[in-house]
């Protein structure tokens, strides 16, 4: 793989993460437990969508094949997506959504804090802008995980179940492959493997306050970097991409 291809792939991963999670959060619109939370979830979804637009537009330029953000978002099939498996998981109940959000927010916060000093100035700019949003996202999801974990008997049980069921998607966030290594070597990317310790500390603190127990590291799945996804992504894309696929030349 050439450097340019790796650079493209790296930006695509970042953009896909934001886009797929943003799409999942949009599904909550009008269905959240209360009006204020409905606004919060869609707000976060919009933040993520904004990040995705910046990252995918840039990725398209780096690739240099004339694909813009829309082309990348709406005309790629499952195998071409690079988002973390965690993020394409269904919303489930509110606790499930908050567990997924916390795991990713805590990770993305560290990742983007690192990207702020990327040698790729445009990426550093995008990261700096996004980090403000992510700081708020993390505060929001942290708050809810503590509230639910340390809430009623039922909310505690649901929160623990959510944490348990998503735990196996955590290790993938900290994987490094050839693209990551090359980007770190070029000063563009972040060594995510090195972020695990800090992530664990943060999550353990939240768990302690939320009276949740940390699951055992018994299973894990990965594959997003090679385009191997869970069965959920296909359905998500079918819904998201329907219109542009049906009318590929339409402008809106």
């Amino acid at each position: 793989m050439t450097d340019q291809k790796m650079h493209f792939d790296y930006l695509l991963r970042l953009g896909d993460n934001s886009l797929i999670l943003g799409q999942r959060l949009a599904e909550w619109c009008g269905h959240a437990p209360m009006l204020e939370e409905d606004l919060a979830l869609t707000n976060i979804g919009l933040d993520l969508l904004g990040q995705a637009r910046m990252l995918l537009a840039y990725a398209g330029e780096v690739e240099g094949k004339g694909r813009d953000e829309d082309r990348l978002a709406f005309h790629r099939d499952t195998m071409a997506w690079r988002n973390l498996l965690l993020l394409e998981q269904p919303n489930g109940d509110f606790a499930h959504t908050m567990a997924r959000q916390l795991f990713f927010d805590a990770f993305q916060y560290q990742q983007f804090a690192g990207l702020c000093s990327s040698s790729d100035e445009r990426l550093a700019g995008i990261a700096a802008k996004s980090l403000k949003e992510i700081t708020y996202h993390r505060r929001h999801s942290t708050d809810w995980v503590i509230r639910l974990g340390d809430g009623t008997e039922e909310s505690h049980e649901r929160m623990q179940r959510a944490v348990d069921s998503l735990w196996g998607y955590v290790p993938e966030m900290f994987d490094m492959d050839a693209v990551d290594d090359a980007m770190v070597a070029a000063g563009i990317g972040v060594d995510v493997a090195a972020l695990r310790g800090e992530w664990d500390r943060y999550i353990d603190e939240v768990f302690a306050e939320a009276t949740l127990s940390r699951p055992e590291d018994s299973w894990s799945v990965r594959g997003s970097r090679e385009g191997k996804h869970s069965e959920h992504l296909g359905y998500l894309l079918a819904e998201m991409q329907f219109l542009p696929r049906a009318y590929p030349d339409a402008k809106w």
Partner: protein, 98 residues
């Protein structure tokens, strides 16, 4: 009379000072479980996260309002007592606008 029902979270009143604003203005109300949640909700609902604003949230039940029946005795007690209004003093020019 309380409009609070068991299934609803308590009501908070929201006051916001905008970036160039001098004082906090009442902008509306919202439901939240506690003050911290009220703050984050207020940020989402009323500020669109514009930077440089200050938000106050107050539990609605903590606000005591004057009642319309008190209008007469509350607000019109001094119109006929000119000596209560400090309008007879000449301000020195140096003071400027007061």
């Amino acid at each position: 009379m309380s409009s609070e029902t068991k299934s609803e979270l308590p009501l908070y009143e929201v006051f916001i000072r905008s970036k160039n604003g001098l004082d906090h203005k009442h902008v509306g109300s919202l439901h939240a479980a506690d003050a911290e949640m009220a703050l984050t909700n207020a940020r989402d609902v009323y500020t669109r996260r514009g930077e440089g604003v200050s938000i106050w949230v107050v539990k609605s039940t903590d606000i005591v309002a004057s009642s319309p029946e008190d209008r007469g005795s509350f607000y019109e007690p001094s119109d006929d007592k000119l000596y209560r209004h400090p309008t007879f003093f000449k301000l020195p020019d140096e003071v400027g606008h007061m």
